[in-house]
Symmetry: C2
Subunit: 253 residues, 2 copies
DNA sequence: TTCGACGATATGGTTAGAACATATTTGAGA
DNA sequence: TCTCAAATATGTTCTAACCATATCGTCGAA
């Protein structure tokens, strides 16, 4: 959370193409691309930055807001505006996808399928690349699942962490981000349905299949195991609570 | 582009959690989720809508701007603010991913791999589902490639359209959107390198392999063919112009 | 009558200045 | 040295006005 030297900002040329606030966005974006703004950095106060860039404060705020909307900046009243720094893997905001889903009537089946494809891809990569550390994490979550067969809430925690661990083992942060984007949208639904789950043991067993395939460095088997696991999960969810699934897709925001 | 009846908007309760502008965003988002705002709709003028929602115009504008940043709304000076209506498949803005790439130092290899995984998934689905119309489109673009072996620019057009057609044939708009998101980032680089391409014929041939696999309804073959095609493309690009690739990743915004 | 140009109106974009709310820092007092 | 309250820093919202552009209607010319 280091402060910035003031001299990296340049005054905006009012005759550049695009509107003034667009120009503010470009300016900030390019500073990020050039590495002058790094995760955790704090921007100068709005009043100062507006002067430096040569625009009014509302215009500057408009630019900041646009970048905040896509998850790059974060403003905290009284504290300042910061470049987002995530602890875990980089996270893309899923609300744009949610809105697109509503606008274009994406079905939950389509959403499930997208998740399945992404998870299969990630599982395949993980089988090829997982380090022993990754293997250990996976194993740990599997153990956690078997230890919480009678506690659906707890089971779900290990379930999600397992999928995160597989994604981490894949070594591809982009696919991981996209996967999380889709998974997030399906999450609320999942949390609701998990209470009614009757076959946690079978689910844990299928996770173990995925783990074994990864451990044996067999990408194709990992893909298949992941596919089967998610197919079962989808069927369970759909058969139990169609209405809530639809609800989740429509309402979540 | 129908105008909205004014009575679908509700006044905002200032005591709700979150800031006022957050509340505006939620309000608009929920109207989209509920289907009260549909693609192409025009929002009431800012001055009116601000009164209706019971907030000031700058606050309303802040909300609009946030939704515009994620590609859901679009404001046109003098005309109005509209819910985005895309002609083709729904498009997710790729700039958030670009920024994440810069912030977290995603490598171009990682980006390529993500694209490859997505395209393989999509090709596999296309092989299972493509209609005869889809087949025709694919075939047409293949023909276009062979017809423009001596015109790299034109070849690239058919190349991209082929990939779009495969995505369309997959029937999954979410995967298509994600694929395009990644592909868009790699596009500028591709356009630069295509001029130096020496093996357009080989590339066209590989596309044809993908097409044949889809036509024969062989998902696994389609995946393999797509993988080989993209691997070759990546190698060609990397070997020719490493510097420009890096440039593209850093600068594009 | 039809078509084009011009101007009026509608609408988003920008600026200014002030008041407000919350987070952080400072300093006084125990 | 620690704790808590006041002061300061900083983002948030509001009011009011003016600018820039798009749209649409009207008027005039062909």
């Amino acid at each position: 959370m280091t402060d910035l030297r003031g001299d990296v900002f340049r005054t905006i040329d009012p005759e550049r193409p695009g509107s003034t606030s667009e120009e503010v966005i470009s300016q900030l974006r390019e500073m990020i691309h050039r590495g002058e703004l790094r995760p955790g950095d704090r921007l100068p106060p709005e009043r100062d930055l507006a002067k430096i860039l040569g625009v009014s404060r509302p215009t500057l705020r408009a630019g900041i807001r646009s970048l905040a909307a896509v998850g790059v900046l974060q403003s905290r009243q009284g504290a300042g505006t910061f470049v987002v720094k995530s602890d875990g893997p980089p996270a893309l905001d899923s609300s744009p996808l949610r809105l697109m889903a509503s606008l274009h009537g994406f079905t939950s089946a389509e959403m499930f399928e997208a998740r399945q494809s992404l998870e299969m891809a990630v599982a395949g990569l993980a089988a090829a690349r997982a380090t022993s550390d990754h293997m250990a994490s996976l194993s740990e979550e599997i153990a956690g699942m078997f230890a919480s067969l009678d506690d659906p809430e707890q089971f779900l925690v290990h379930d999600m962490r397992f999928h995160q661990a597989v994604a981490a083992a894949s070594g591809n942060r982009i696919l991981t981000s996209l996967m999380n984007m889709v998974a997030t949208i399906l999450f609320d639904v999942r949390r609701k349905t998990v209470k009614h789950a009757t076959d946690l043991k079978e689910s844990a067993e299928m996770h173990r299949q995925v783990y074994r395939a990864i451990r044996e460095r067999n990408p194709e088997a990992a893909r298949i195991a992941m596919r089967d696991h998610l197919m079962l999960a989808q069927r369970a969810q759909e058969s139990e609570r169609i209405s809530e699934v639809e609800d989740g897709l429509e309402r979540a925001g």
